[in-house]
Symmetry: C2
Subunit: 175 residues, 2 copies
């Protein structure tokens, strides 16, 4: 049976985790991969995935291995991770022989909202300038906006509306 | 370069996580796999790994995939999971062509200690009878005690002594 992968991406502070977890709940046979958790499996000796190519590549290989196993056990998959268009395209290529539909969703809010949300985090996990750098990196790499889902106007208790849009639209399909 | 895998096993309440995390810190190039975390990647549709063969098998396939990737990136690996001797042997078989040493350590305390430690957990995560069932399952499956490390006499601030024993002994080697 054909399975579905949802890549929930976007810069820090757009609501990836909240949206991903709600989406997982809405699917009958579902799994949840936190890219951050996978990137933290290496402990001593690893670099930051956005600075160290080796750590970055290992993280994506681990995610890909988990995806392949989960597909073979008939799970839909929600990936919660900062995933750039080039990385989403790499996944499509690696999974071209698998019977899956891949939806790639870039959640987006404006710069002021990202800075504000970052300031609300506990100081130890605040990203500071990095959160704006990430936002700019997304804007630089985007060729079109088919995959962007603007969540600026949604409040925290409207997550279900965002999930409905993800579930009911074909515009996020990339394979 | 030959890498090392440490499987830190034993029933609930013996100190697997504490010991594993300290061991990871002591290794130069190390990684940490929480079997519980891996078993929770499937969300809707999964069973309990100790009751549902399919969920059990998927968990171990995911762990094995992560191990293979981590070895190819030259990481030592600490696996923190309730791992029975038969499962450790399965890992040895699956990794027979990999250049790794596999140490299998079953941490053990007595029944009264396990019951006491379980009672100290938050009610929502207490295992109740299951913690004793697990202890009995280990005792039933054990043919010899080479892999058992009795931590009954160690206090919480003596974790480093346990880690020293793991690092300096060859008796846990199973391949």
């Amino acid at each position: 049976m054909q399975r579905t992968i949802y890549i929930i991406s976007g810069p820090a502070g757009v609501g990836k985790s909240t949206t991903s977890k709600r989406l997982v709940e809405r699917l009958d046979r579902s799994s949840y991969i936190s890219g951050d958790d996978v990137s933290h499996i290496p402990v001593n000796g690893r670099g930051k995935p956005w600075l160290c190519k080796e750590t970055h590549d290992l993280t994506w290989k681990n995610i890909l291995s988990l995806i392949k196993n989960l597909i073979s056990y008939n799970y839909d998959i929600v990936i919660d991770y900062v995933t750039f268009p080039s990385e989403a395209r790499w996944l499509v290529k690696e999974l071209k022989y698998s019977d899956v539909r891949i939806h790639y969703i870039i959640l987006m809010v404006d710069k002021e909202t990202i800075i504000h949300r970052d300031s609300l985090r506990a100081p130890s996990v605040q990203m500071g300038e990095r959160s704006v750098v990430l936002l700019n990196e997304f804007n630089d790499e985007l060729n079109d906006f088919n995959n962007v889902l603007d969540t600026q106007e949604f409040t925290a208790d409207q997550v279900d509306l965002v999930v409905n849009e993800i579930l009911n639209s074909n515009r996020f399909l990339i394979n």
